[in-house]
Amino acid sequence: METFLGIDYPTWWFLVLGAVFTGYAILDGFDLGAGALHLFFKQEKSRRIALNAIGPVWDGNEVWLVIGGGALFAGFPKVYASLLSALYVPIMLFLLMLIFRAISIEFRSKEPMAWWRKTWDISYSISSTLLALMLGLVVGNVLLGIPLDENGNYIGDWLDLLNPYALMVGLTTFALFMMHGAIYLVMKTEDKLYAKLTKLVQRTTIFFVICIILLSFYTLLYVPHLTESIKSDPWLFPVPVLMILSIANITRQITKKNYLWAFLSSSVTMSMLLIIVFLELYPTILLSTVDPAYSLTVYNASSSIKTLKIMLMVAAIGVPLVAAYTSFVFWTFKGKVKLDEMSY
């Protein structure tokens, strides 16, 4: 098979997909987390500041999901088709939650009535929470594998998707996003809200540490196929080590109140977790629990090599551009949140 820098093209696209979804987790992770924490803030002004902390960037963050969806469709259409039709009900609920979240952010501060704002606050927080849980649920099911027949069609019941392992991954994702969101918010706030958030950062970090330890034990003890890659190649061992060290560093930086470093560490934690996910999956993307031969891999599910080459060109041009203007936007809105007449 044709290679580029020693790596074949389907694998390259798998790496691109990994990079895009990692970018998505880091970026949308903090605004979903901020949403999940929203109801912890009791005062009207605190809620507005928290909302406007993500105000100019949440939409751009969500774009990474759109890019990820497109990248999956273009590079591995069979995975895109099988996964989305298998997860029909959860995906539909996911899409509706995305809509609710978007309109909650958009409409919340447009009316002064207390009931109006409270309703949208609740809708915003619940939809953010469910989105985080559902993202984890999808990842959990992909890790575990789903019943696919020889044509890649799902033959299970959709309620099977709510299995304990997937729920545990969902909970961990939720905890991770809350921690990530709390750290982001603490960087953007001042005074009393800042003081409150410093406590929330500690609590969400503890919650995440408990979840990740439980999930690690669960995986190591009961899901052996998810440990094989690293087990068989000791050179990959630094990845989980780096994950643990980055988590340790989050707690260290929080104690020192270096929140930017804590945020970067939590981003590294996310990257390492996703690297582990992608390492353990490869070369399979969607494992069939009916018969491993029916599994969709980077080789049997990919688009033609020609298309992958074209898409790699597109990614090579597009990703630096996106990174450049994403940085520009974050730079423009750096520092603590100040409300003005255009704010949410």
Binding site: I67, G70, A74, P77, A81, L98, F107, T332
Partner: protein, 458 residues
């Protein structure tokens, strides 16, 4: 109902609802660029308050457009898995390119456009507005390219058979510039400019009728009118080009649009009418041999009729295609008439004198919206039974695992949520329009030079 019917209803419903918003974003984006450009050039405060006011309207429209657009991207996989496997190589590429080149540009700079007024200088802000417009226009390019490839496939070959058959790209640029792509992109852009400009005309007309924000409304009205007049006239040519392409590459669709059954005869052009599929007759007002003349500049050239296609390869809803297409054309013609009448009144310096003119301008906001919708209905029902023209039938494109109950469940949810969304949208739009531009806001900081310019003018 079957999975196929339900899935088609769901797709049609979600995409129609979505398509209310992107054309408004593109059209309003263009007008905002003109307004802000005028502000940079003249430093007149009225242009600044216009740009700020319409940015707020834009934010509302854009927000709902994004929320309903993400649904579309995933619906291919959820409801049309077989189709997704078949076209992923081609269609997926266009969709991914849209995400990375267009949508990211748009959403990235939107933050600066909405919240950056006091954070960046006027030139950087203007640049951001231009980027948002370009992003939304690029978005239209890739989506329409993807759709056009399904109508007039090119630059691909079919690999495999039966369930495993799929299209693969052989030439990327041939795929992108497939025969109908460029003309349809232009057609869609102009339709969007019409939607945006008639929205601004409508809002301005309402202010003028209420005698509120008069100076603001008159300036906005004129900017929108220039866009509307140029766009409506250009659409005549762009639309004609699109129809010629349909005639060449999708003759069955053209025959349905014009209610033409007989294969060997020269075709008439109906201004309006009613198609009876059973008797194969159209009753209405026609220009004899008009279609032949319009397509081939010759009244005797025969046009391929529906009867020359096997029954199973013809669009089934002939009258629907005919009516939607004719409604689009009729509205297009009216928009030309109306915008140029307004131009004439402007030239006579009577633009804002007649109440009925303002009243009609206010209600005309619905016309481009209806034309955009029915135009797509004609395009999409006219190409049936194919989802990829001459290659994949819509009935073969479904997800095999999804049941009718699941689709019914999601369709009901979408109906409820979109109904709520629409009510909220109209309520918010109405509120923002009633609130009007911020005439005096102590929080907005102006540079000393702007401040003195402003006082000089007042």
């Amino acid at each position: 109902m079957s999975v196929e019917v339900l899935s088609r209803i769901q797709f049609a419903f979600t995409v129609s609802f979505h398509y209310i918003y992107p054309p408004l974003s593109i059209g309003l984006g263009l007008i905002m660029v003109i307004m802000e450009g005028q502000y940079l050039r003249t430093k007149l405060k009225v242009y600044e308050s216009m740009a700020r006011f319409y940015t707020k309207i834009f934010a509302l429209i854009f927000g709902i457009g994004v929320a309903t657009g993400i649904v579309m991207e995933f619906e291919f996989g959820t409801n049309w898995a077989t189709y997704s496997r078949y076209v992923g190589d081609v269609f997926g590429s266009a969709l991914a390119a849209e995400g990375i080149f267009a949508f990211a540009l748009e959403s990235g700079f939107l933050g600066v456009l909405l919240f950056g007024w006091n954070r960046v200088g006027p030139k950087v802000h203007f640049f951001s507005t231009v980027m948002v417009l370009l992003g939304s226009m690029f978005s239209a390019i890739w989506i329409v390219v993807a759709n056009s490839w399904q109508q007039t496939p090119a630059g691909y070959h079919i690999v495999g058979e039966g369930m495993n058959a799929r299209a693969e790209i052989t030439d990327f640029w041939t795929m992108v510039f497939n025969p109908s792509a460029i003309d349809r992109v232009i057609h869609v852009w102009i339709g969007s400019f019409l939607a945006g400009s008639f929205l601004v005309l409508s809002i301005s007309a309402w202010y003028l009728l209420k005698k509120k924000h008069t100076d603001f409304a008159q300036h906005s009205f004129k900017i929108a009118l220039v866009v509307a007049a140029v766009a409506s006239l250009s659409q005549l040519f762009a639309g004609h080009r699109s129809a010629e392409i349909v005639a060449k590459y999708q003759p069955a669709k053209l025959a349905a649009m014009e209610g033409h059954f007989d294969s060997l005869a020269a075709a008439d052009l109906y201004l309006f009418g009613w198609v009876d599929k059973k008797t194969q007759e159209v009753s209405g007002l026609k220009i004899p041999n008009g279609l032949s003349y319009l397509l081939y500049q010759n009244t005797t050239t025969p046009v391929r009729g529906l009867n020359s296609f096997p029954e199973k390869d013809r669009p089934s809803m002939v009258n629907f295609v005919f009516q939607t297409y004719h409604l689009m054309v009729a509205i297009g013609m009216f928009l030309i008439f109306w915008s140029w009448l307004l131009i004439f009144l402007w030239w006579k310096r009577k633009l804002f004198q007649y109440r009925w003119v303002l009243l009609l301008s206010m209600w005309a906001v619905f016309l481009p919206q209806i034309a955009n919708q029915v135009g797509w209905y004609a395009a999409e029902t006219g190409r049936q039974p194919w989802v990829v023209y001459n290659h994949l039938r819509t009935s073969d494109a479904l997800s095999k695992t999804v049941t009718a109950n699941q689709v019914l469940f999601s369709l009901i949810l979408f109906t409820l949520v979109y109904a709520l969304l629409f009510v909220l949208f109209i309520y918010m739009l109405n509120k923002k329009i009633k609130h009007g531009p911020d005439t005096h806001d102590p929080d907005i900081q102006h540079s000393p030079q702007q401040q003195s310019m402003a006082t000089l003018l007042e």
